[in-house]
């Protein structure tokens, strides 16, 4: 059962081979048994999940249902879900019970999916290893000394270890794709604006985008069908015709032009990852694709640009956590300024504070032009590189990360080294393009390698087709970590 695809699970539910309550309990038991090791979930609430499962069973008994009705989905703890503690991985919100549903949560509720719990994440989604979470690090199911990646590390680990049928994530600079790669699962960051950000706790508003994390491209397509859609409560949500992201899954890849950016295969890429990626490209050639070399000359600037813009937006987005209305307030203070300072000093972790400081600095009078405005200009150049590239190819491929999962604690003392683990993913967010990562083999240490597929704007259906065809001829996405019993 645990190795089933979402479509198979849905069929099993509809044919009454299993009930939603039984399926939910199955996962809840696994969480009870394994979460103490993996720490993938911050909050599990059996009763609330089972209420939804019972409602789904009632629905399944009567009427026509959605493909995802009754299926337990793990939600990244960045999405507000009514009645659920929603922490964003922070002490600041460790006591915050959301009084409303995020758009993404509403969409899953609408089709009768079960919220299985809230997954661990880097604090306010700021991190690449899930080590900045106030609720402790998440272990990579493929190697317990390895990081799961971040910031959606809890979701990636939960999917990888079969502690849920599928999960949601958010991706500001690689936070879906990088942990998907490091945990050997599939993850998709849609075009900016495809999934509403309403109720998704903001890190860097112009970059944040929610997306699905699952075992296969086919599962991702089903999940994206539920998550996507215009929402008038998010002014950056795009008003487009509804589309079926699964419509092209079975198209052959004959004539597909794959662009390989030379910048993604340069110094810094580890040999084992390079080898796995080259092997997958070879597989694509067998499927009828051709390969073109492309250039993304400005992508080398994406990390500095990102670490100006994302902290700038974050420094402002996180100002609302002031201890006044909700969230953490320092127990003792002498006056208003002291309350702000102590509450924020105690409520935020080191990485969050570092980024607030950077963001505050780059927006300051006298520095704004040199940092923020300059970064915005380069951001446009980076986006323009992709426009040029997509004149020559249909999709762009490369490694999702320069290495397989690094060890817990390995990069904690050197933030720049940590930031470099997102070197191939960040440009995609800066351009607002869709990107995904799918399992593409293993490195020398036995840890998973992710293949990144970047599409043109709104080309999610084609990307899913490209990924699905690969998954028809490979079995990397079906592999299960050896320590995890299924």
């Amino acid at each position: 059962m645990l190795n089933s695809s979402l479509l198979q699970l849905g069929a099993a539910l509809r044919s009454k081979k299993i009930s939603s309550v039984e399926l939910t309990q199955l996962y809840l038991h696994r969480i009870a048994a394994l979460n103490s090791k993996l720490n993938a979930y911050i909050t599990v609430n059996e009763e609330m999940s089972l209420v939804q499962a019972r409602a789904a069973d009632a629905q399944l008994a009567q009427s026509e249902t959605h493909a995802l009705t009754g299926i337990p989905i793990a939600q990244k703890d960045i999405f507000c879900a009514m009645g659920w503690r929603t922490t964003c991985g922070s002490k600041m919100l460790s006591n915050f019970i959301a009084p409303y549903d995020a758009h993404v949560i509403e969409q899953f509720n609408r089709v009768g999916a079960v919220n299985l719990g809230k997954t661990n994440m880097d604090e306010f989604a700021m991190g690449s290893s899930n080590e900045t979470s106030y609720f402790g690090t998440v272990k990579n199911p493929w190697g317990h000394n390895a990081v799961p990646g971040g910031s959606s590390g809890g979701s990636a680990a939960a999917v990888s270890a079969h502690l849920c049928a599928a999960a949601t994530g958010t991706d500001t600079g690689g936070s879906i794709r990088q942990p998907a790669a490091l945990c050997g699962i599939s993850g998709l960051k849609p075009t900016y604006g495809v999934v509403s950000r309403y109720g998704m706790i903001a890190f860097a508003s112009s970059l944040d985008q929610a997306g699905p994390m699952a075992h296969s491209a086919e599962d991702l397509a089903l999940l994206l069908n539920v998550m996507a859609g215009f929402d008038e409560r998010d002014s950056t949500s795009l008003q487009r015709e509804t589309e079926d992201y699964a419509r092209d899954l079975n198209k052959p890849l004959n004539g597909l032009r794959i662009g390989l950016p030379k910048e993604f295969f340069a110094a810094g890429l580890s040999a084992d990852v390079a080898q796995a990626i080259e092997a997958s490209i070879a597989e694509y050639k067998k499927l009828g694709a051709s390969v073109v070399d492309i250039n993304l000359p400005n992508s080398r600037l994406s990390i500095p640009v990102y670490y100006v813009l994302a902290p700038a937006e974050a420094s402002s987005n996180l100002s609302r956590y002031d201890g006044v209305r909700y969230g953490y307030r320092a127990p003792e203070y002498t006056n208003l300024a002291d309350m702000y300072e102590k509450s924020r000093a105690q409520g935020f972790g080191e990485e969050v504070k570092r980024r607030i400081m950077i963001g505050t600095y780059v927006l300051s009078h006298g520095y704004y032009d040199a940092y923020y405005l300059q970064a915005q200009k380069i951001r446009r150049l980076i986006a323009q590189d992709f426009v040029e590239a997509f004149k020559q190819c249909d999709v762009i491929m490369g490694p999702t990360t320069p290495t397989t999962a690094f060890n817990l604690g390995e990069k904690n003392d050197d933030p720049v080294q940590m930031y470099l683990s997102d070197i191939y993913t960040i440009a995609v967010n800066l351009a607002g393009l869709p990107g995904m990562s799918i399992p593409a083999g293993f490195g020398g240490n036995g840890l998973p390698v992710g293949l990144q597929i970047i599409g043109n704007y709104f080309d999610e259906a084609r990307m899913l087709n490209v990924a699905h065809q690969y998954q028809q001829v490979t079995d990397w996405h079906t592999r299960t970590p050896q320590h995890i019993e299924v």
Partner: protein, 482 residues
């Protein structure tokens, strides 16, 4: 040596939308604290702003009314600072790309000496949309501060003038004209007590012809009287300081209305660095010509245009035209009255500015609360014009209309107020008066013409005010002459 006072005003006009600028919560004033603050206004994690189209439309109306450039593309920015009544830790405002560009406002300034007015054009620098903050309540909480977020997110239009005003009187005229205009075009209720219209004044002084002096900004003046007092005090303080060899430092000051003084709140040195940057949650605001033209089509005739028309077409004086256009409601009342009694513009104006205004003032009402409708008033004035009733009898009709309502013609009929035009009856009355007052008749005939008024009074009284005054005068003159 002379000093010149230089003043620029920043006015915050609260826009009259029923919901907030970035959320669906109500903007109604006076509700229980925090009952009109939704998730967006409370800045809960994950919420997002959505721009209220009604606020944009009101800004466009204003731009059109002051002949300003309306930006096809403007940008909302975040102004970052911490304060408990600012839930997000930033205010969404407009910074380098405001919705409304340069415009102008023509004002009438009264002079203290002659009682006359002069015209002046004040240039507007810009106007931009922003959200209001909540309120901090420092009383009643025993050493703590209460926060009411009902006002948080209320739409404001901040209207910035050039430093074109040269006296407190000019500044007050400008503020009053703006106050009239925003109510006129229906974008702001203008209620200053409730804070719907608040002024900040930038004041500096200089020797005529010299460079602009250093300014100090007086914050949050919520009455025209305080605006006048604060500017006068501040300007004099700056002049005294400079004449005593001191220098002015840029600062924000508050006006203490009890003491009548301005007091420094913070200096430039400890001014906040607001770290403005474009709000990534909101797309740039795009306004196309079609929208602008659509709004233009709904704009009422503006005060200046009405004034010119009243003077040129209706033959009213500048003073009358000015008074009748002091508010849109007044002008509407005037025009509706005139509609009933066409060609009687001066008569309508006199009654509106005379008996109607006096009665309203006595009862502390404004024109919208007038118990007499323009149709009733016009109906009565029509009867004065066609000679049915005298002005004297009209006062009686007016009193009845004011307190009991009704149809003026019915009142004239039932109260028997129709003007008397029976010459024989009037002559008989005059004969009786002459017989009864021989002493006064003698005086008159000896050349004491003042006594004539005495006879007029008696005659009108005898006719119960119904006599046609012109006819009665003629008869009196003839009979008294002997």
């Amino acid at each position: 040596m002379q000093w010149e006072i230089v003043i620029g005003l920043e006015v915050h006009a609260q826009l009259s939308t029923s919901s907030k600028i970035f959320s669906g919560a109500s903007t109604a004033f006076g509700a229980e604290p925090n009952t009109q603050a939704c998730a967006v206004d409370l800045a809960l994690p994950g919420v997002l702003p959505v721009l209220n189209r009604g606020a944009v439309e009101r800004a466009i109306r204003f731009g059109l009314a002051v002949g300003a450039h309306i930006a096809q593309r403007s940008v909302f920015s975040r102004k970052n600072y911490f304060y408990p009544d600012l839930p997000k830790g930033y205010q969404i405002s407009q910074f380098d790309l405001p919705i409304i560009g340069q415009g102008s406002l023509t004002i009438q300034v009264p002079t203290t000496t002659t009682g006359q007015t002069y015209k002046k054009v004040v240039r507007l620098t810009r106007a931009h949309l922003e959200e209001d903050a909540g309120k901090s309540l420092h009383e009643d909480f025993h050493g703590m501060t209460g926060i009411d977020l009902n006002r948080a997110g209320t739409p404001l239009l901040e209207i910035v003038s050039e430093p074109d005003m040269r006296s407190a009187a000019e500044a007050v005229s400008y503020a009053k004209m703006l106050h009239t205009l925003v109510r006129w075009i229906g974008i702001c209720d203008g209620n200053m007590q409730e804070g719907s219209f608040r002024c900040d004044a930038n004041v500096s002084v200089r020797r005529p012809g010299a460079e602009l002096g250093t300014r100090r900004e007086i914050k949050n003046l919520n009455s025209f009287r305080f605006l006048q007092q604060a500017i006068e005090y501040e300007a004099q303080w700056q002049i005294d300081t400079l004449e005593n060899g001191g220098t002015i430092h840029q600062a924000t000051v508050l006006f203490d209305s009890d003491k009548g003084e301005t007091r420094a709140m913070r200096s430039k040195e400890d001014a906040n660095d607001y770290r403005y940057f474009p709000d990534p949650d909101l797309l740039p605001l795009a306004i196309d010509n079609e929208w602008i033209e659509q709004v233009r089509g709904t704009l009422p005739e503006l005060p200046l245009s009405k004034q010119a028309r009243y003077i040129a077409d209706l033959g009213l004086s500048v003073y009358d035209a000015d008074t009748l256009t002091s508010s849109r409601e007044m002008a509407d009342f005037f025009e509706a009255t005139l509609n009933e009694a066409p060609k009687e513009a001066k008569l309508c104006a006199n009654w509106l500015m005379g008996d109607v205004s006096a009665s309203l003032n006595r009862e502390d009402r404004d024109i919208t609360q007038c118990p007499i409708s323009p149709q009733q008033l016009g109906g009565m004035l029509k009867r004065i014009a066609d000679g049915t009733i005298s002005n004297f009898a009209a006062k009686e009709v007016f009193k009845i209309l004011w307190s009991n309502g009704g149809n003026p013609d019915t009142i004239i009929e039932t109260k028997g107020l129709k003007q008397m035009s029976d010459v024989g009856a009037m002559e008989a009355m005059v004969d009786e008066i002459i017989t009864a007052n021989p002493v006064q008749v003698a005086e008159y005939r000896c050349g004491k013409e003042k006594v004539f008024g005495f006879f007029v009074g008696l005659a009108m009284k005898a006719s119960k005010g119904k006599a046609n005054p012109a006819q009665m005068n003629e008869i009196l003159k003839r009979k008294l002459a002997g």
